[in-house]
């Protein structure tokens, strides 16, 4: 690392990654226990991208984020509370969207999260609009759209990247290339080796970063955000990462070649940052163990709390269809 982050930011990132990891694992258990219904898309293994991204976002300034349905980690990294998250997973009134959104639809404008989008590619055009507001009002804000490696195969992606490039919008397009779009490998669905290669078609920078290294992610996004704030337009960033679990709840990912998961487990983003902090004398084994315990307890506390929360009243079905 050319420029290691401050010990405080590293600690914050590590804390958040542990919370995300344990929250996702707990969510999976709750799904299997039928406490949470529908479907879910876990980001276990990709936490480094979430915290690296969130470290750049300045919500009070007006920075905004759109992302895919694999968005629990991004929401937590941006500052959504575990309680708000868990209650939404369970469809409770106390959830971030009052239980109307669920796993695939998380919004909290206080932390800059316009939404997690359940339709592939739908977030990028909306991020452009947020960036347009920033450009017109001169706020210096940026909007980041996060998507998977399957998204550049849908038309809306190209329309949005093209428009952002033409209008030099303060946007950052952040791909989490976890090697699989649903059940299909990246190589079997895309004609170019890297998602970042597609940037050339739109005359914008295409940068590849190690998604398992949160500090590298942060530094790379920071550079793109600085460009955007300076009026130099959008950047496409491809974070190479991996999801330890399948696409969604029912997917055990049998399509993965033997040994692939193990290779990625050896490059776990939590371990990478923790090891680096230990090497730099910023973290001891016992402190790390305590952080694990604290994160687990926080997740369990939020789970217990959310379980006790009421469901929305039936009258809620009539609410928030319109702005009156």
């Amino acid at each position: 690392m050319a420029n290691p982050l401050s010990p405080e930011l590293r600690l914050h990132m590590l804390t958040r990654m542990l919370e995300i990891r344990y929250c996702e694992e707990r969510i999976q258990e709750l799904f299997l226990e039928n406490v949470i219904r529908g479907t879910t898309h876990l980001c276990i293994g990709q936490e480094g991208v979430s915290v690296g991204m969130a470290a750049v976002i300045d919500a009070p300034r007006g920075d905004t984020v759109t992302c895919t349905y694999r968005g629990h980690g991004h929401a937590l990294a941006l500052g959504m509370s575990l309680r708000s998250m868990m209650a939404e997973m369970m469809g409770k009134e106390a959830g971030c969207c009052k239980g109307k959104g669920g796993s695939m639809h998380l919004t909290n404008m206080d932390i800059g999260l316009i939404g997690t989008f359940a339709i592939v590619g739908a977030g990028l055009p909306v991020t452009n609009g947020a960036a347009l507001t920033a450009q017109i009002k001169g706020t210096g804000a940026v909007s980041i759209s996060i998507f998977g490696d399957g998204t550049p195969n849908i038309g809306a992606w190209h329309e949005a990247v093209n428009l952002a490039a033409v209008w030099k919008l303060p946007a950052v397009f952040l791909c989490e290339n976890n090697l699989y779009g649903e059940y299909s490998s990246y190589a079997s669905t895309a004609p170019v080796d890297n998602v970042a290669d597609r940037a050339a078609a739109y005359g914008i920078p295409g940068i590849i970063v190690d998604g398992q290294d949160p500090e590298a992610v942060k530094a790379t996004i920071q550079e793109a955000v600085d460009r955007a704030r300076a009026g130099q337009g959008p950047t496409l960033i491809e974070a190479k990462t991996y999801r330890y679990k399948g696409h969604s709840r029912t997917d055990t990912a049998p399509y993965r070649p033997a040994g692939e998961l193990e290779q990625w487990l050896a490059r776990d983003p939590i371990n990478i940052l923790a090891d680096r902090m230990k090497a730099d004398g910023q973290l001891t084994d016992s402190q790390l163990q305590q952080m694990h315990t604290t994160a687990q307890e926080a997740v369990q506390e939020a789970t217990t709390w959310a379980l006790e929360q009421p469901y929305p009243p039936l009258e809620a079905v009539y609410e928030d269809i319109w702005v009156n």
Partner: protein
């Protein structure tokens, strides 16, 4: 009262609202430097500049998405889709995103977005550039749907649309762009959900929109010569729908007809008919009659296109059958 065309009324509404509120921006394909393919918005680019009036690539998803994102972050965008048929390219952004943002976010987001588009047949554009598409959007709760039939209504309703905090689909009839009408000189605002009783009558209630309003009025004039009195109602907005005015009329006339420039199946007239029968069936003296596109699709060939679009003769004949005269 000044006389102006339907297209001039669109531009006046945009101009007045852009002058009133700097958060109103306007973009779409060729709307800026070229003034729009229907020449509706010439001069706005020159007056308000390239920051607030923008030409876009031919990218309907990107256009609507940018409108949504700008709307949820504080602007009041008006975007143009050129031909309303092109909305099919971006139904995800309109129906899955814009319409549902508020609901799915538990009321956190609002989307003050106006989507303008030119719809309707009669101009020889064939099936993919001639549809009336209002019912596509009536089935997506969260969207308001506006179908103005004359210049004064265009002005008053578009200004309301721009000030509304909900996403509004504002459908202009392309064949009406050159039609002239009187428009108030002063600030002119028409609230949504208030129907216009275009012509009073006592025997049959005819509900019609846009170009079909004139068809209904012409038919009513002819029928009047036979002593048949028709009340013509223009709902002006389909969402919200002024059912009260329609039902009050049916309670007076006992008969209901809709005239729709759209396919029969699933048309807005079916919704009107169901709701009237639900709430006022005992006022009806005969079944509801719907005059809709003959066949189902808009053909290119001139005599065929003329044939499929409802006209005065078909309305008169249908009312004769209705009254058994």
């Amino acid at each position: 009262m000044a006389v102006m065309t339907y297209r001039e009324a669109v531009k006046r509404a945009l101009d007045e609202e852009m002058a009133r509120d700097e958060n109103v921006i306007f973009f779409g394909e060729d709307v800026g430097a070229a003034g729009g393919v229907f020449k509706v918005t010439p001069g706005l680019f020159e007056k308000y500049g390239g920051v607030r009036v923008r030409d876009t690539p031919i990218s309907e998803n990107a256009i609507i998405g940018a409108g949504i994102g700008a709307a949820v972050t504080g602007l009041r965008p008006v975007v143009e889709l050129m031909f309303a048929d092109f909305a099919a390219v971006t139904l995800d952004q309109i129906i899955n995103q814009a319409a549902k943002f508020r609901y799915m976010s538990g009321g956190q987001l609002k989307v003050p977005l106006v989507i303008r588009a030119a719809q309707g047949g009669g101009a020889g554009f064939a099936s993919q550039h001639s549809q009336c598409v209002e019912t596509w959007f009536m089935h997506a709760p969260g969207l308001k749907v506006v179908v103005p039939s004359n210049p004064a209504d265009v002005l008053g309703l578009l200004k309301t649309a721009i000030r509304d905090d909900n996403p509004v689909v504002f459908l202009e009839h392309k064949v009406q762009y050159a039609e002239k009408g009187e428009v108030p000189d002063d600030e002119h605002i028409i609230p949504f959900g208030v129907a216009n009783v275009v012509r009073a009558g006592s025997d049959v209630t005819i509900v019609a929109t846009q170009r079909m309003v004139a068809v209904a009025v012409n038919a009513a004039e002819e029928l009047a010569k036979e002593g048949i009195s028709c009340e013509v109602i223009d709902p002006r907005t389909l969402v919200p729908l002024d059912l009260e005015t329609i039902i009050a009329s049916v309670q007076k006339t006992g008969r209901l007809m809709t005239v729709e420039e759209a396919p029969h199946a699933g048309g807005w007239g079916a919704e009107v008919a169901t709701r009237v029968t639900d709430q006022a069936i005992w006022s009806l003296e005969s079944p509801v009659v719907r005059v809709t596109l003959e066949g189902a699709l808009i053909p290119f060939s001139a005599p065929l296109e003329d044939y499929v679009i409802p006209n005065k003769g078909r309305v008169v004949a249908a009312i004769h059958r209705m009254l058994d005269v």
